[in-house]
Amino acid sequence: MPRSPGTRLKPAKYIPVATAAALLVGSSTLFFVFTCPWLTRAVSPAVPVYNGIIFLFVLANFSMATFMDPGVFPRADEDEDKEDDFRAPLYKNVDVRGIQVRMKWCATCHFYRPPRCSHCSVCDNCVEDFDHHCPWVNNCIGRRNYRYFFLFLLSLSAHMVGVVAFGLVYVLNHAEGLGAAHTTITMAVMCVAGLFFIPVIGLTGFHVVLVTRGRTTNEQVTGKFRGGVNPFTRGCCGNVEHVLCSPLAPRYVVEPPQLPLAMSLKPPFLRPELLERAAPLKVKLSDNGLKAGLGRSKSKGSLDRLDEKPLDLGPPLPPKIDAGTFGSDLQTPRPGSAESALSVQRTSPPTPAMYKFRPAFSTGPKSPFCGPGEQVPGPDSLTLGDDSIHSLDFVSEPNLDLPDYGPGGLHAAYPPSPPLSASDAFSGALRSLSLKAAGRRGGDHVALQPLRSEGGPPTPHRSIFAPHALPNRNGSLSYDSLLNPGSPGGHACPAHPSVGVASYRSPYLHPGAAGDPPRPPPRSFSPVLGPRPREPSPVRYDNLSRTIMASIQERKDREERERLLRSQADSLFGDSGVYDAPSSYSLQQASVLSEGPRGPVLRYGSRDDLVAGPGFGGARNPALQTSLSSLSSSVSRAPRTSSSSLQADQANNNAVATRPGSGSHRSPGRQGLPSPPGTPCSPSFSGPKAVAFIHTDLPEPPPSLAMQRGRIGTCSRGWGRRGPPRVPPGLHLCHLGRPEDRPPLRAPWSPAAGAPPRGAMCRLHLAASSLFPSLSGP
């Protein structure tokens, strides 16, 4: 009786099988002991031989039906599931001998059930050629053991017939002394046999019919082929032959001990020396894993060294600032976090880098820091409880670096998560979880929103929070990498070139480390110790103080702005990919899109804008909203937990598919620029473009909105004009289109420099300075 992992022993389910076994063995033994001797003498010695053989046959088939694997399909690996994402329908049709057969997605086993396969809720397995779950043998009856079950029924029927018949002969010949022990016992045995005679014979007859018709009990009971043609039938004789004479199918489920133990499993921790030379291994661009694979090739050599050396404690972690103020469940640090990673390694299968986000696959966990790449954090952290949700805040930032990969890459990176609620698409759920975590922490919801709703274009900072870019890929997260994520490539904001890491580092880093060159904290390589309780990592996104987060956000904003400046040099409307980036996601993740338009708005807005964001994006953009709602509905259907019909699925797919196209029509300013769905665009552009897009849909001119915010400068880029933007003087022109409209580059703004004059400040800076007066100076 193959049992799926995680099921507890339930004594109650063994009662029927124990009863059946007891009755069978007990009654037959009594029959052989009390009835057969007289029958041997009076009738023939062949009687007990015949009965004996039949009884052995019954026992053998009973045992095979009970203990044989019915044809359990092993759970699908995560990598296999990547092809089926949120958009995938609940059912797939296949053509079997000209007849359409529906294959249903199994949310537990993560594959489309082959024809005739069904998921047994008792055994919690998908079984090939599922017949039924028989409580009398406490096992599923499927492809491999149906023959033995059928033969068991046949032989049991024959045995019962024999027992009753020979018992009757005995009783009739001992009618004068019915009180005698032997006679009484024989009569009792006959009663038991007679009691089960009708059900067993009935069941046997039923299965004889099924076998001749080539159907399973499941198909018969659910009426699959009622009035129709059974595509699986081979004709009466062929069906009987198939049941009785086909070769025994192999077992698919391989027990874990059978996996080669000769190979040593090493935990995915990096050695400290690797981290020391890990400058090139710092925060990698988050991506969908494919690029990580490519990009990591150079670091692979260093990672390979991991397994050669013993683990040991590394240099101390960066300071855990204000850890107490966040995450109440945060505990000490690094060994715990690494330990959690270790225990993840132990408890869950290694998660490929590409599929970090696979939720509900591994039971483990929860540390946001992973070792070299694939192990753990992202997906595991999703399946966690509240205490680990904090870790989601930054591990779960998806990378929207679409341009380099097609939708397939996206699917790889963000495989669907059927266990998530229908309304949350994958990264949307991550975001919502992170937002919830923020809320749970007591309400910095609004304040943290800008930090979280990175739904728009990714920035170098984004890579911090993407799991792939997670701490160097080596599991370390330094403040330096947080502040300067773009890293090796150097995404330093050109407008503020002199704002070096050092200027941000000093207040936040450990005093001892202030002057050091960026050295990623070796969080990931905690010692591989014995079973220690997993503890959340000390330095996590939610863990950082607000000032740090503010500075990070500010820096991100600044860099984003700089990128805008650069991008505008190309063309005002050059890149029509506003909805390209979000669209390819949104098809999978509704809430991404729902946050998408809002995200960039939030990003570029002041705090007021943040508050008004949802309203802004929603109420003012009915067209957007309709598409959003259609997307949400389609995506809510998509995770295959619903049982919507295929037609509904197709309709939704159509709706989804047409969405990007319709998006481009909505904007008057963009009519000349259809945005080809799925066209990869630089994510750095999609933010401003998303902003532009939204703005063009506004019924009223945006400057009025801006005016509500007290003369905050607005981005004139997206006001739907192709000509040179006419910008009222006094507005900060850093977002404006033409180079000549831009203000001359000034000295980079640093906290020490104080706030720039308000009139000339862009909305971004204004927001930053208003939000974080401590940073902006007096």
Binding site: P74, D77, V96, P114, F232, S246, M263, A292, M354
Partner: protein, 156 residues
């Protein structure tokens, strides 16, 4: 010398192409011979089809109801199925043949192209997967024996 962990990690970086089962003839085990576009640049179409067809042939042989299967069934009945403890079933024999074939194909044909064919039995015969390795020469082949590497790779 590389560890299982490393193999899995490295293998996990590969693009995986899955070839689904072909149910057009019922539940007999056969795989679709449709050429997946992802392998377009990696392998010749004809080579791919030949491989899949050979696999299909093996599985057809394994599931064939004929003399050997009758004999096996009768023997099993006669011995109250104790024969299964001693003897390998016909299907299992063919499966061994299949895995030898797959290993051979991996060594000779697929590994030089940066591909790895996995044994479908690992996934319940639902799919055959090709793993297209992205980064070659990253230490995976340090064993020096492609066959051994392929065999080690043939892990789910």
């Amino acid at each position: 010398m590389f560890t299982l962990h490393e193999l899995r990690r490295s293998a996990s970086l590969a693009t995986k192409v899955f070839i689904q089962r072909d149910y057009s003839d019922g539940t007999i085990c056969q795989f679709q011979t449709k050429f997946p576009p992802e392998l377009d640049s990696r392998i010749e179409r004809q080579l791919f089809e030949e491989t899949v067809k050979t696999l299909n042939g093996f599985y057809a042989e394994a599931e064939k109801i004929g003399g050997s299967s009758y004999l096996e069934g009768c023997l099993a009945c006669a011995t109250a199925y104790f024969i299964f403890l001693c003897m390998e079933t016909h299907y299992e024999k063919v499966l061994k043949k299949i895995s030898r074939y797959i290993q051979e194909q991996n060594e000779k044909i697929f590994a030089p192209r940066g591909l790895l064919l996995t044994d479908p039995v690992e996934r319940g015969m639902r799919v055959v997967s090709f793993w297209a390795v992205l980064c070659e020469g990253t230490g995976l082949t340090t064993s020096g024996v492609p066959g051994e590497a392929a065999r080690k790779w043939g892990l789910p």
